[in-house]
Every structure is written in structure tokens, then in C-alpha cells.
Symmetry: C2
Subunit: 163 residues, 2 copies
């Protein structure tokens, strides 16, 4: 459970960080207000880039804490700049790396509950990881990438896969 979660989250968060660095550099080079990218969306009723990064990081730290039966460290959603998003990513990587692999022992059968608006979802650890944490995490990292691609930032699949 550790092997297919923590290193994956850390790797993808590092890739996301490198993608955001390219986006910030793109804004500088093209004289675009960074806020234009930070607030860009793919559809009017989808979340903007900032929120995609916030939610992706939330799923990473949420998974690491839940799978190790630890407290979830709250982070306020106050970022408005690339620098602040980078700080959030670094903080979440540190949180994910703070749990020892042994803390995941037996996590596949651990009962995990997730509160969503108007409901509480109950999962075994393995179902939580494969049906909730991983799909949500990848959804928001990919959507962050897609928002930047749709706005002309020069990125390729390689940036998504390896930083």
C-alpha cells in the first residue's frame, strides 16, 4: 500500500511543481499576467488552476494520513500566486514523506471513511486508494496540466510523467 501510494504522490507532485514552474516562466516570457493562468478553467463550471492544485495536494496528504491512521494536517486554501502553490506542494510532499512505510502495514483492510457534502463514504483501504484517492488525485493533476496546455503553455506528456 505504501509502494503504490506515497512514492507515486511524491513523484507526481514534483512533476506538478515543475509544470507550474514552466507555466510561471511562460507567463513571464510572454508578458501574461500570472493571474490569468492561475484563474484559468476548462469550462465555466470547472475549478480554476489554483483550486486544481489545492485539491490534488489535499488528496495526496489525505491518503497518506488515512492509510496510516494519522491526523490529516489541514492547510487553508489561501494561495493566489505560483510561489504559494509551490510552497503548498513542498509542504504536502514533506507530509507524505513523514509517514514510514511500516505505518501502511495492513492499510488495505483498514476501514476508511470520507466525508463529502451530504454523505459519508466508507471504504476498505484498498478501495479507498483505487476508487477514490488515486482517481481524484490524478484527475486534478491532469486537469491542472490540461488547463495550462489549453492556454498555450509549452508542455508535453513527458512533463506530466517525469520532472
Amino acid at each position: 500500500m505504501h509502494a503504490v501510494s506515497a512514492p507515486l504522490f511524491v513523484r507526481m507532485l514534483n512533476n506538478l511543481s515543475a509544470i507550474l514552474t514552466k507555466a510561471e516562466n511562460h507567463a513571464k516570457a510572454k508578458d501574461i499576467d500570472p493571474a490569468t493562468l492561475l484563474n484559468a478553467k476548462l469550462a465555466p463550471d470547472m475549478f480554476a488552476l489554483i483550486r486544481q492544485v489545492q485539491i490534488a495536494t489535499d488528496h495526496a496528504k489525505g491518503a497518506a494520513a488515512r492509510l496510516t491512521s494519522s491526523q490529516i494536517e489541514a492547510i487553508e486554501d489561501t494561495e493566489t500566486t505560483f510561489a504559494q502553490l509551490q510552497a503548498r506542494i513542498r509542504r504536502v510532499i514533506a507530509i507524505v514523506e513523514s509517514f514510514k512505510p511500516e505505518a501502511y502495514d495492513g492499510a488495505e483492510n483498514r476501514e476508511i471513511s470520507v466525508k463529502i457534502p451530504n454523505a459519508e463514504l466508507k471504504f476498505s483501504g484498498i478501495d479507498y486508494l483505487s476508487q477514490w484517492a488515486l482517481p481524484n488525485f490524478f484527475f486534478h493533476v491532469t486537469t491542472a496540466y490540461a488547463i495550462l496546455r489549453a492556454n498555450g503553455v509549452e508542455l508535453g506528456k513527458r512533463d506530466f510523467l517525469m520532472s
Copy 2:
């Protein structure tokens, strides 16, 4: 290795199938040529919807075969309609489901090589799954969803997570 791959792929492919059904119904209801959605992209140098579905399915069947040391069943990339994409998804679900969980025993340490243009990547089974198969699979399923959202199809996160 089975628990965090095969059921995840099948579940997400079923979700993708349901998303494509909504997209096809949307085209009918709004009198949009289905080809407009099937060939839609998020950026001029990104793949269109059809190719996103083809690659997503390729990663699912590729992972199931490689992790069980089986032959990868080739599928030609000839789809041009929603019905053909649905047939491809059904076929790939059947392929993924054809491998018994026991066939994944020891898969985390299996040496897996993946040919990409001009290079060959070598992974352990666990690294292949977490660094290659899952990120690629989710990338293409999410991008398919994002293309449809950006084109006005009424979808929500719930469609991505559960069909």
C-alpha cells in the same frame, strides 16, 4: 498488484464508457455532429477524443498483460464513431478481466520493459504500475473527460468517479 490495477482499470473504463454515452446523447440532443466531439482537442498539438480513448484502453490492457507476463493483444486504432469506441472499451474490459488475480503474484518485482519512440524503458512491476501505467491511464481518461467538459457536455466529477 491485482487489487490496485485490474479492478481500477475496469471501474474507470466503465466510467469512461458512461461518459461517452452521455457525450453521444448530448450530440443528439443538441443536433451536434458526433464527429465534432470525437475529433475535439484541448490544444492543437494534443490528441483528439478518439485517440485519448484508444491510448487509455491500450494502457489498461498493456498493464494487465505485462503484469501477468502475458501477450499484449493488439487492437488496431481504426475507431471513428462512439459505437466503435464503446466496443473497444468492452473488448479491453474483457481482456483485463481474463487474467486471474493469481497471475499477478510476484508482479511487483517482475522486470517490465516498455518501448517508446527511440528508447526502451525498464521498470520493476511496481514502478511500471505507479510511474507509467496508472499515470498514463488516468491522464488519458481525464483528458477525454476534460475535452467533453470543455465542449459543453454536461458531466460532473461523479461521472468520472462512478458510473
